[in-house]
Every structure is written in structure tokens, then in C-alpha cells.
């Protein structure tokens, strides 16, 4: 990133402002019980696709249960569709949504980060203070394994992942737009498992589309740690026929980055970049690791396939991208389904009722140009308390009508989380 200091980046991105508000707010500096509990309470950590859905369905299923959601961001920004910001097809504002709908349903939102979980006393720590819970939903999304790429930890404020939609998405779009014609855009794909399996390949389509139309001498070099395109393989291969500016290199795991020479290093090669989008290897969100909800690999959380209760801690239900062991992708639609199933399980358990079987589903659209999309759909059943895939289907080809349905899916599922 040329000439952009960490302070400039924080200022431009609003991260510094958010931090300031957080510290000035009451909860982080309060000691003791921040909000004494009077009745039954469920605390939800994280207001993304899983957490928002869980909070909404908890209130829908039993309004007598108090629901408290901890989310440091004041607005919701959708990761799905955010690759379209990189091609200029969408603005980040068009993907930014209010939590007002959840507040209107009685969800109490605290714009703070959960700093620790105390399962024995059933408390969530927020700085010096805490809130008590009867049941806890942990939906922290992913965090990055900076240490897996040499030089990345020191450069993590300037080497962009743009893998959590927000300021980094906007900054990466700006860098692509500012890149000279003839410049090289390098995108690195992390090894599985990572958030949104088709996401990197959709991003490649969007950047390649933009460069083809605006900077025809530029190219996209893809360094994929995996042996092949991870998701919708044949459909992406077909889409890339329209983008001769893509140079795709499989089995090229990035092991180092040097911002002074503007190079990324793989096990076999050094690759120069003008703009770099390094998507680092991933693990469950920090709070899940801190609370030891993760397995022996310290990466992901194993859960019940029926209730999403952690196999390691009673009364803590983990949902979304931080889970492992179900045959489902780490997608927004799956997190949405897990949020519903966890919410209805918790309401059933708190009311002494049997937990119904609620198998997930996954509908996943990817934009391959400015007008056309492809999709993959997975449906599941539950057999012997385990989630089993019934079927996976792909669209036969890319089309405008799939893209039209993608738009309707976006509007509908946003309402299913936040209205």
C-alpha cells in the first residue's frame, strides 16, 4: 500500500473512531454486573449472519426471554455481495443495514466486544464488567492466523484481506481503481477451511471484469493454496473464459509477504504485485479460542448437530463460520439457518420442551460478471443426531435470471436476520 500510514488507514476506515466510542461508552469501563438479570436471559456474542438471526428468532419464539446481543459494530455490513464493491457495481452503503429492526423486537444491543467467557459462573466479560446468562450463543465469525504468513503480522494493517466487509473492502476497491493500467493485482486464496468457499473466485471474477473494462493491460494473478478451485469449479472455469487477464496458479500456498519489495513468497516462487489482496488462513473468532470452545487444532468449534451446543461447554451454543464437523460450507445462509436452529433449541430447552430436528440448508449465489450469477444449493437431513447432506445442485450455467434471484435472496435473507 503506497504512502498510506497505519494512522491514515485507521482514520479513513473509521476503525479509530469506533474504538474511541467504545472506550467512551459505559460498558467497557463499568465494573461488576453491567445489567443485573431479572428473568431468563440469553446473551448472543456477535451480530453477524448467525448472531442476528439467533437474536431475532429467540425473541420471535419466546418474548418472555431477555435477549442481549454484544456486537462492537454499530451497523451490519453484508459480506455476501461485497465483492461487487470491488468492481464498482455496488457501494458499501448499499450493503450497510441498521440493527433497528432487532431493537424493535426487544433485542438489547451492547456495542462492545466480549472479552472472556466464564462458563462456571455463566458470565460474559466485557472489559472490567460482566453480564450474566442462562444460555449463551457464540457467533464470532472468523479471525485470521497472521502468524501463518511470514511478515504478515507486522504488515496486517496495510496488507488487505477485505474478508470482513467494511473499511477494508472500500480501501481495496480504491487501490484497484488507483492501480496503473498494466499493473498486477495479486489475490491469494487460503487453504480450506475458510469463510465462504466460492468467495475468492467470485472476487477474481469481479476484479477481472473491472480490469478488463477499465485497465485492459492489467492482470490478475491468483495464488491458490488449494489444488483446484474449491467451489463451483466448472462454473467458475467457464466464467473465466471471458477473462483472459486471469493467471490462475493452483497449489501455491503463500508463506511470506514483503511490503518493501512488494512481493509475496510461495514455497516455490516470488511474485511481484502492484495491489495485493492476501486472504490469510483462518480460525474461529478470538472469543471462541479464548473460551477454549475450539478443538485440539485450536481453530474451530465442534457442536451438537441438533442444538449447536458446544461439545466442550454446557449451555454455550456455537453457530456460524466458527463451527466444524457438519458437512456444510461456512456461508451466510448456513449461519442464518444455524441461528434459527440454535434459537429454537434454546427456547425449547428453557421451556422444558423437546428440541425439534431442524436440518440446515445452503443457497449460495456468486456473481461472475456485472449481470450474471451462478449458484450452488445444498439441503440436509438429520439422521441419528447427525447432519447429513441430501443433495447438492448447481445451476447449469451462468445467467441473468440466476442473478435476479440472487438479488431477491439478498433482500429476503437480510429481512430474515434483521427486520
Amino acid at each position: 500500500m503506497s504512502g498510506l500510514t497505519r494512522r491514515d488507514f485507521l482514520r479513513a476506515s473509521g476503525i479509530g473512531v469506533g474504538l474511541g466510542l467504545g472506550l467512551a461508552g459505559c460498558a467497557a469501563t463499568t465494573t461488576g454486573d453491567i445489567a443485573p438479570k431479572s428473568g431468563r436471559r440469553v446473551v448472543v456474542i456477535g451480530g453477524g449472519w448467525g448472531g442476528s438471526t439467533a437474536a431475532r428468532y429467540l425473541r420471535m419464539a419466546d418474548p418472555s426471554i431477555e435477549v442481549m446481543m454484544l456486537e462492537p459494530n454499530r451497523e451490519f455490513i453484508s459480506c455476501p455481495f461485497s465483492n461487487l464493491v470491488l468492481s464498482g457495481q455496488r457501494t458499501i452503503e448499499s450493503l450497510t443495514l441498521s440493527y433497528e429492526g432487532l431493537r424493535n423486537r426487544g433485542v438489547k444491543i451492547i456495542n462492545e466486544t466480549a472479552t472472556a467467557i466464564e462458563p462456571d459462573t455463566k458470565r460474559v466479560r466485557i472489559g472490567q464488567g460482566y453480564v450474566a446468562y442462562d444460555k449463551l450463543v457464540v457467533s464470532p465469525g472468523i479471525d485470521f492466523q497472521w502468524e501463518q504468513v511470514e511478515g504478515l503480522a507486522a504488515a496486517k494493517d496495510t496488507v488487505l484481506h477485505a474478508w470482513k466487509a467494511g473499511p477494508q473492502t472500500v480501501e481495496l476497491a480504491r487501490q484497484i481503481q488507483s492501480m496503473p493500467d498494466g499493473g498486477v493485482f495479486v489475490l491469494t486464496v487460503p487453504p480450506v477451511a475458510y469463510r465462504c468457499p466460492p468467495g475468492p473466485y467470485e472476487r477474481i471474477c469481479q476484479v477481472a471484469w473491472y480490469l478488463k473494462n477499465n485497465k485492459p493491460k492489467s492482470k490478475v494473478i491468483v495464488l491458490d493454496a488449494n489444488q483446484n478451485i474449491v467451489s463451483k469449479t466448472a462454473l467458475f472455469r467457464a466464467a473465466w473464459q471471458a477473462y483472459p487477464n486471469i493467471d490462475y496458479r493452483a497449489s501455491q500456498k503463500v508463506i511470506g509477504v514483503d511490503t518493501s519489495t512488494r512481493e509475496v513468497r510461495t514455497e516455490f516462487d516470488r511474485v511481484k504485485y502492484d495491489v495485493l489482496n492476501l486472504i490469510p488462513p483462518q480460525r474461529a473468532g478470538a472469543i471462541a479460542v479464548q473460551a477454549d470452545l475450539v478443538g485440539a487444532d485450536k481453530r474451530w468449534c465442534e457442536v451438537s448437530h441438533v442444538t449447536y451446543e458446544s461439545v466442550k461447554q454446557k449451555d454455550i451454543h456455537v453457530i456460524g463460520d466458527s463451527t466444524i464437523g457438519l458437512p456444510v460450507p461456512k456461508s451466510g445462509n448456513v449461519a442464518n439457518n444455524m441461528g434459527k436452529a440454535a434459537a429454537l433449541s434454546i427456547v425449547s430447552l428453557l421451556n422444558g420442551k423437546p428440541v425439534p430436528l431442524m436440518p440446515p440448508g445452503n443457497t449460495c449465489y456468486s456473481w461472475v460478471s456485472d449481470k450474471e450469477a451462478i449458484a450452488v444449493v445444498n439441503a440436509y437431513k438429520i439422521e441419528n443426531d447427525k447432519v447429513v447432506q441430501i443433495e447438492q445442485k448447481l445451476t447449469p450455467a451462468q445467467s441473468v435470471s440466476v442473478a435476479q434471484r440472487a438479488e431477491s435472496w439478498r433482500q429476503s435473507i437480510w429481512a430474515d436476520m434483521l427486520s
Partner: protein
């Protein structure tokens, strides 16, 4: 206050407590055993099957026999849809009869899309050819598995007309031969108007 009235007041207070926090869950959606079976549908088809978007059909108020036929056709691939084929099999796994009855019992809220008045008027003129099956009010004929189109989203309706015309929805079905013949003589450009008209019906 007499003893009787005091007792009544106490009883009322106790009842109010019992109905307060903790027991209010008695009337929640979980008391309908079908509700947990349709939560996956809501991501696309909206709360209680009342889709608010242009391309996803409203399931609320659909005739249960028609709903069941469509799920069966999606599951076998007779009505080809990469999105719906897996989910149709999930619906069969969870209980087709129960889910069909659930959506049939929901009150349909017409699509929020408000097409242009001229499009509706033009569509109404074209629709003169459709009333023999779909009825003058677009409500269809449940006995013949002809669905109500009234208030469905216009984008969905227009897309289905195109699929019928191309014979890609239920290809070769003799019961749909007349319908498809009609679709073939209507120019593609008139489908959005026809869809606008049916979406405007209440």
C-alpha cells in the same frame, strides 16, 4: 372488600403472575409443530411464506394439493430448479403434508411491488385469454390444481410464463399443453404486463 372479592382479586393476581414472564411462551410459534420445519424456507420465501421480493413466490395461502404437486415435481426434476430440487427433498424428509398444510393456513399478504398502471391495464387486456382457467379474479381452480396468481410477485410470474413457453417447466405434461400453446402465441414482451396485472389482483 368482601372475602369473595378479595379471593377473586388474589386469584386474578396469581393468574396474572402465572401468565407473566416465564409462562408467556405458551402461545409462541413453537406450539405449532410445523413451525420448526419451515424456518429454512423463510430465508427466501419470507416470514410465514409471505415473500416480499420480486423473484421468490409467495407460499402463504397456496392450495395444499398444488403445493404438494410442485414439491414432488421439483424433487423428481420434472419442474427443473437447481435451487428448489434439494429443498424439495428436504421438505419431503421433514413432512410434505404438514408443511403444505402450514403454508395453506397462512394468510397471503400480496406482493408489495406496485407495477405501473398502464402495464396493469395492458396486462388485463391480454389476460382475457387466461380467465377460462385462472378465473376472472386470478384465484385459479383448486380442484384442477390451477393456482391463485393474485398478489404473487411480478418477477416470479413473468419468469414462469417464459419457462412454460419454452416448455422447460414440466416439459411434455399433457395437462399443461393448452397453457403452453397459449404462452407461445403471447410475445415475450407482454409477459411483464400480464405479470403486473396478476400481481395487482387482491
Amino acid at each position: 372488600m368482601t372475602t369473595t372479592r378479595l379471593a377473586a382479586a388474589l386469584a386474578a393476581a396469581v393468574f396474572a403472575l402465572a401468565a407473566g414472564p416465564g409462562a408467556a411462551s405458551a402461545a409462541g410459534p413453537l406450539d405449532d409443530p410445523a413451525f420448526p420445519k419451515v424456518i429454512t424456507c423463510a430465508a427466501c420465501h419470507g416470514a410465514n411464506g409471505n415473500s416480499r421480493t420480486d423473484m421468490m413466490p409467495i407460499l402463504a395461502g397456496l392450495d395444499p394439493a398444488y403445493f404438494k404437486r410442485q414439491i414432488e415435481n421439483y424433487a423428481t426434476g420434472k419442474r427443473p430448479s437447481p435451487e428448489m430440487e434439494p429443498y424439495a427433498k428436504q421438505v419431503q424428509f421433514l413432512g410434505l403434508d404438514e408443511i403444505a398444510a402450514y403454508f395453506a393456513a397462512q394468510k397471503r399478504q400480496p406482493t408489495p411491488f406496485r407495477p405501473a398502471v398502464e402495464a396493469v391495464a395492458k396486462g388485463k387486456a391480454t389476460a382475457a385469454q387466461c380467465v377460462i382457467c385462472h378465473g376472472p379474479d386470478g384465484k385459479g381452480d383448486a380442484a384442477r390444481l390451477i393456482p391463485s396468481l393474485a398478489g404473487q410477485p411480478p418477477g416470479y410470474l413473468a419468469q414462469q410464463m417464459l419457462l412454460f413457453k419454452q416448455d422447460t417447466r414440466d416439459p411434455g405434461d399433457p395437462l399443461l399443453a393448452a397453457k403452453k400453446a397459449l404462452m407461445r402465441i403471447i410475445p415475450d414482451g407482454q409477459f411483464p404486463e400480464l405479470a403486473a396485472y396478476y400481481s395487482s389482483l387482491r
